[in-house]
C-alpha cells in the first residue's frame, strides 16, 4: 500500500459498502479499454532509498561551483529568508486563489509583486507573472498584434536572446531582423508592417541598448515597443516606461530564485493602464469586503480563458505564484539600496574581470559598447578554456561558437574566483 494514503482495509470495506459495490474494480467497470497489466516501473522505494538515489544523481552534476554562465539565468545571492518563507505550507500548498476569502495571503503577495514590477519598469500595471521570460516575450508580441490589429510580426536584432526568438517563432510570431553592429541594435530601418519592436537591454551580449530609440522607431511605424529587461539592471537603468516602451517583460529568476537547471522561473509583464485589457494572465486588484475592510481579489477575469474560452487573450492559466512570491520577498529584503548594491557589485566585479582579461591579452568583442555585468570576450579555444576552468572547479562562460565566450559576473563571485578565472584561461591559451 502506498504510504501517502491513510486508508485501512476496514475503511475501504466500509466505504465500498456505503457506495454499494463489492470491490474497487467495480468502480472501473465503465473504463474501456482497460489496462489489465502491471505498470512496468521500477519497484517502489522507501523515502530513504529515493533520497539516497537523488543524492547520488545530484553528485553526478558539477553543481555548487562558481558559475560564469548567464544568458538568461544568473547565479545570484539569495537571502535565507526567501526560501524559509516560501516553504510555509500555507503558501506552498495552496492553489490559484479562486476563493479570495481564504487566499488573502497569496492575493496580497501578488499585489505586492505587481507593485514591485511596476516600480522597476516604470509602467502602470503588471500581471501576476507568466511562465518565464521567453513566454513573456511571446505573449507581449501577440499583445502588440491585438493592439495594432496587425499580424503578429516583430522587429528584433541579434541582441535578443536567441532562445526568446525561438519561442517567438514557435508561438507563430514572425521575426524581422534588425541590423546589429558594434554590440547594439540599429533601429533606423524598422519595417512599416510590424506590430512590435523588441529591444532587449541589457541585450544578449550584456550591452545596454537604446530603449528610447527603439520606442520612437516603433511608434513611427505604428507599432508598439516591447522592452526585455533584467529586473536587477532596472535598479540602475532608466525604466523602460520612462523611455517610451509600451510593454516591459523579463525574467524574475535573478530576484532570489535558484538556478534549478532552468526552472521553475517566472516571467513578468508590465504595460500602460490603457492596454490592461489586452494583458494576458492573472491580475490581482484591491477591493473591500462586506464590512469595508481592504482586501484583494483576482480581477478583470473576463479576459481569461476560463470565461472567454476561444476569445481569451491567451490560454495562460496558472501563473508562477510561488516564484513571484520569492521575487517579492527578495525585493523587500534588498530594498532600493540593496538592489542597487547588487547591481553595483556585479558591475564592479565584471569590469574588474574584463580589465584583467584585457591585460592578459584577451579582447572584448564589443570594446566600445557599455555593459553592466555580462560581456563577450574573444577567445581562440573556448572549449579548451572551459575544460581547464572545470578542472579548477569553475564553470566557465557560454561558448558562442564563433571564437568568443559570453561571461556573466554576479555579486556572488569573489576576487579570488575572478583571479583564478583569468589565470586559467590565460594559461589555456
Amino acid at each position: 500500500m502506498a504510504r501517502f494514503t491513510p486508508h485501512t482495509e476496514a475503511d475501504i470495506r466500509e466505504m465500498l459498502e456505503v457506495i454499494g459495490v463489492s470491490s474497487i474494480d467495480e468502480l472501473f467497470a465503465d473504463v474501456s479499454p482497460k489496462f489489465e497489466g502491471e505498470l512496468d516501473l521500477p519497484l517502489a522505494l522507501s523515502e530513504h532509498e529515493v533520497l539516497r538515489e537523488a543524492e547520488r544523481l545530484a553528485g553526478k552534476n558539477a553543481a555548487g561551483l562558481p558559475v560564469f554562465l548567464g544568458a538568461g539565468a544568473y547565479d545570484r545571492i539569495t537571502p535565507a529568508a526567501v526560501g524559509q518563507i516560501i516553504s510555509r505550507g500555507e503558501f506552498m500548498t495552496s492553489y490559484t486563489p479562486y476563493q479570495p476569502e481564504v487566499s488573502q495571503g497569496h492575493l496580497q503577495a501578488i499585489f505586492e509583486f505587481q507593485s514591485v514590477i511596476s516600480e522597476l519598469t516604470g509602467l502602470e500595471v503588471s500581471n501576476a507573472s507568466v511562465y518565464d521570460a521567453a513566454s513573456a516575450v511571446a505573449e507581449a508580441a501577440l499583445m502588440t498584434a491585438r493592439l495594432t490589429g496587425r499580424e503578429p510580426k516583430v522587429a528584433a536584432s541579434a541582441g535578443l536572446n536567441p532562445r526568446y526568438r525561438e519561442v517567438l517563432e514557435t508561438y507563430g510570431v514572425e521575426v524581422a531582423g534588425l541590423p546589429f553592429e558594434g554590440g547594439a541594435t540599429d533601429f533606423s530601418s524598422v519595417p512599416g508592417d510590424v506590430s512590435g519592436v523588441i529591444v532587449q537591454s541589457p541585450n544578449f551580449f550584456g550591452i545596454v541598448e537604446d530603449v528610447r530609440a527603439a520606442s520612437e522607431a516603433a511608434h513611427e511605424s505604428g507599432a508598439l515597443a516591447v522592452a526585455v529587461c533584467d529586473p536587477v539592471a532596472l535598479a540602475v537603468l532608466e525604466p523602460p516606461g520612462s523611455l517610451g516602451a509600451d510593454i516591459a517583460v523579463g525574467e524574475t529568476q535573478p530576484l532570489g530564485v535558484p538556478l534549478m537547471f532552468g526552472g521553475p522561473y517566472a516571467g513578468y509583464m508590465a504595460t500602460r493602464q490603457r492596454f490592461v485589457r489586452q494583458l494576458p494572465g492573472r491580475i490581482a486588484g484591491e477591493t473591500v469586503d462586506r464590512e469595508g475592510r481592504l482586501a484583494y481579489v483576482l480581477t478583470l477575469r473576463a479576459r481569461e480563458q476560463d470565461i472567454r474560452r476561444a476569445r481569451a487573450n491567451s490560454n495562460i492559466c496558472t501563473n508562477q505564484a510561488l516564484t513571484a512570491l520569492a521575487a517579492t520577498i527578495y525585493a523587500a529584503l534588498m530594498g532600493p539600496e540593496g538592489l542597487r548594491e547588487v547591481a553595483e557589485l556585479s558591475i564592479s566585479k565584471a569590469h574588474y574581470l574584463s580589465g584583467r582579461l584585457g591585460e592578459a591579452g584577451f579582447a572584448l568583442r564589443y570594446p566600445e559598447a557599455p555593459f553592466l555585468w555580462e560581456f563577450a570576450v574573444e577567445m581562440p579555444d573556448v572549449k579548451r578554456a572551459n575544460a581547464a576552468l572545470l578542472e579548477r572547479g569553475i564553470v566557465g562562460g557560454l561558448d558562442l561558437g564563433d571564437g568568443a565566450m559570453l561571461v556573466a559576473v554576479t555579486e556572488k563571485r569573489t576576487k579570488e574566483e575572478l583571479d583564478a578565472f583569468v589565470e586559467v584561461v590565460a594559461n589555456a591559451g
Partner: protein, 471 residues
C-alpha cells in the same frame, strides 16, 4: 486602511539584507554607462528589516489556506498531499545550483532524471515518445496542438482549420486551439455526460485537425466511447488529443495510447505531487505516438551507452521555454513515481474510491446530474433554491476549502468535488457532514457566510471597475 502592505511598514534607511563587502575596486554605473541610460529616480521598493519581512509574510500566510492546513477538494486541481521527500530532493544543491546552460557532461545526473522520467511517463501513458519541456498544463496543450498543426503543414495538408472541443473541456482547451490558429468548435454531450458520438460523426471531416478530449471528463465521467471516437477521427485523418489533467484517475487502469489517443499532456504537478504554490509552478509534459514524435519541442533527452544528451527532434516545432522546462517539478515527479512504482494504480484506486464515497453520501440531498460511478471527482448540484456560491462560502466557516464552483459550465450550479486519495475517511465524513448541514440552512443565513474567514465576502465588481493593481 493604510499600512497593510510591506512598503508601508518601512522607513527610509532600513535594510533587510547585507551583501558581502566589496573585494574589488567599486565601479559605479555612472563610470561605465552613458548618463542618458541611467535611472534618475529610485524605485519605491520597501525599506524594511528582516524581522519585519518575516513577520509580514508569515502573517500573510496565516490568511491563506493550503492542503497543509485544510481539506482542499478543489475539482480539476488534484490538491493532494505533497510528500516532503520531494522537497528535500529538490533542495539538494546538486540540483538547485545547476545552471541550465552547463555542458551536458556536467549535468549527467539531472539528464538521467529527465530521461528516466520520460520513460516512466511513456509507460504510464502507453506512448513511445515524451517531451518534458512545456512549463504548465496549458502550455502542454498548446505544444500538442502546435505539433498537430506542424504535422499537417509538413504533410502539405492545408485544409485542417477546425479543432473540435467537447462542452466538458477545460476552458484552456478552446483558448489553446485559438492560439494555435484553429477555429474551436464545440461538440455536445449525450445524456450520460459523454461526447455525443453521433454529433461527432456528423461534424468530423477533412477540415478537422483534432478533437481535444478530457478523460475522465470535467463532469467526473469516464468517456466510454474512446475507441469509437478515435476511430471516427482517424477515419477523416484527424488526431485525438487528450487533456491529461485528470490522469490521477487513470494510472494503472487506462493508458491513453491503448484507447487510440495520439497525443496528450500531463499535469506533472497535479498527478505527481508538486505543491501548487498558489497557482504555479506547474509542468506540462507531453506524450505522443511515433507519428507525432519528430515534432516534439527542442530538446528531449536521449541515452547513448551510459551518457545522456539533449537532442532536437527531427521536425521539432521549436522551443516553448527559455531552457529545458521546469526541472523542479520534474524532479518531484521522478521522486514520487520512484516511491510508488507499479503501485501507482492504488493511488488511482483510492482517489476514485474517495470520490465515489463522497458521491454516495451526498446522494439524495444534493442532486447528481450523472449516473455513477464517477471517477476521481464528482459533480453535484445544491438542493433546489440554493446557490453553489453560498454553499461554498458556508464550507469556509466549517474549515473546508470549497470545491470548484460553476464548473463544468454544462451543469447549472455545479460543484466539482475532488477529494484525492490522500484524505482519510474521517476527513471525508466531516466534509460530508458540513455539506449536509449546509443543505438544511436557510439561504438568507448562508448569504452571510463566511463569517470566520480572514475577510467577509468581497466586492469583486469594484476591483474591476476601479482597477488598483499596485501601490
Amino acid at each position: 486602511m493604510l499600512g497593510n502592505l510591506i512598503r508601508d511598514k518601512g522607513r527610509s534607511g532600513r535594510r533587510g539584507y547585507t551583501l558581502p563587502r566589496p573585494d574589488v575596486e567599486l565601479v559605479s554605473p555612472e563610470d561605465v554607462i552613458p548618463e542618458r541610460f541611467l535611472r534618475r529616480e529610485r524605485p519605491r521598493l520597501p525599506e524594511v528589516d528582516e524581522p519585519t519581512v518575516v513577520r509580514h509574510y508569515t502573517n500573510l500566510s496565516r490568511r491563506n489556506w493550503g492542503i497543509d492546513t485544510n481539506f482542499y477538494p478543489l475539482g480539476s486541481c488534484t490538491m493532494k498531499h505533497n510528500p516532503r521527500a520531494n522537497e528535500v530532493a529538490a533542495a539538494n544543491s546538486g540540483f538547485a545550483g545547476l545552471h541550465p546552460l552547463q555542458p551536458e557532461e556536467q549535468v549527467q545526473g539531472a539528464l538521467q532524471i529527465m530521461y528516466e522520467l520520460q520513460g516512466f511517463l511513456a509507460e504510464i501513458s502507453g506512448f513511445p515518445a515524451v517531451s518534458l519541456q512545456p512549463l504548465a498544463g496549458a502550455q502542454g496543450e498548446l505544444t500538442s496542438i502546435l505539433m498537430i498543426r506542424d504535422y499537417f503543414r509538413d504533410a502539405g495538408d492545408t485544409g485542417r482549420r477546425v479543432v473540435l472541443i467537447p462542452q466538458t473541456a477545460h476552458g484552456t482547451n478552446p483558448a489553446t486551439a485559438a492560439m494555435a490558429g484553429f477555429e474551436a468548435r464545440e461538440i455536445g454531450l449525450d445524456d450520460r455526460g459523454c461526447v455525443d458520438v453521433e454529433e461527432l460523426r456528423r461534424m468530423a471531416d477533412e477540415s478537422t485537425a483534432a478533437l481535444m478530449i478530457t478523460n475522465p471528463n470535467t463532469c467526473g465521467v469516464f468517456e466510454r466511447n474512446m475507441e469509437e471516437i478515435a476511430g471516427i477521427l482517424h477515419s477523416v485523418g484527424a488526431f485525438l488529443y487528450m487533456d491529461g489533467a485528470n490522469m490521477n484517475a487513470n494510472m494503472g487502469r487506462m493508458r491513453p495510447a491503448d484507447a487510440g489517443v495520439d497525443i496528450m499532456h500531463f499535469n506533472l504537478h497535479k498527478t505527481f505531487s508538486t505543491p501548487h504554490g498558489g497557482g504555479g509552478p506547474g509542468s506540462g509534459a507531453i506524450a505522443c505516438s511515433e507519428r507525432l514524435a519528430p515534432f516534439r519541442p527542442d530538446p528531449v533527452v536521449e541515452r547513448t551507452g551510459d551518457a545522456y544528451r539533449f537532442v532536437r527532434p527531427e521536425k521539432s516545432i521549436g522551443r516553448v521555454a527559455t531552457f529545458h522546462g521546469n526541472f523542479g517539478p520534474m524532479l518531484r515527479a521522478w521522486s514520487y513515481i520512484r516511491m510508488h512504482g507499479p503501485e501507482l494504480r492504488e493511488v488511482t484506486d483510492l482517489a476514485v474510491l474517495n470520490a465515489n464515497y463522497v458521491r454516495a453520501r451526498l446522494k439524495g440531498t444534493y442532486r447528481l446530474p450523472y449516473e455513477g460511478p464517477c471517477k476521481h471527482e464528482v459533480v453535484v448540484q445544491p438542493p433546489k433554491g440554493m446557490r453553489a456560491l453560498d454553499i461554498a462560502k458556508g464550507l469556509i466557516d466549517h474549515g473546508f476549502h470549497p470545491p470548484t464552483i460553476y464548473f463544468p459550465l454544462v451543469v447549472k450550479e455545479a460543484m466539482l468535488i475532488e477529494p484525492t486519495e490522500t484524505e482519510s475517511k474521517e476527513t471525508l465524513d466531516d466534509f460530508v457532514g458540513a455539506m449536509l448541514e449546509l443543505a438544511e440552512a436557510k439561504p438568507e443565513e448562508l448569504e452571510e457566510a463566511p463569517t470566520r474567514a480572514p475577510t467577509r465576502r468581497l466586492d469583486e465588481a469594484r476591483a474591476a471597475r476601479r482597477l488598483k493593481a499596485r501601490w
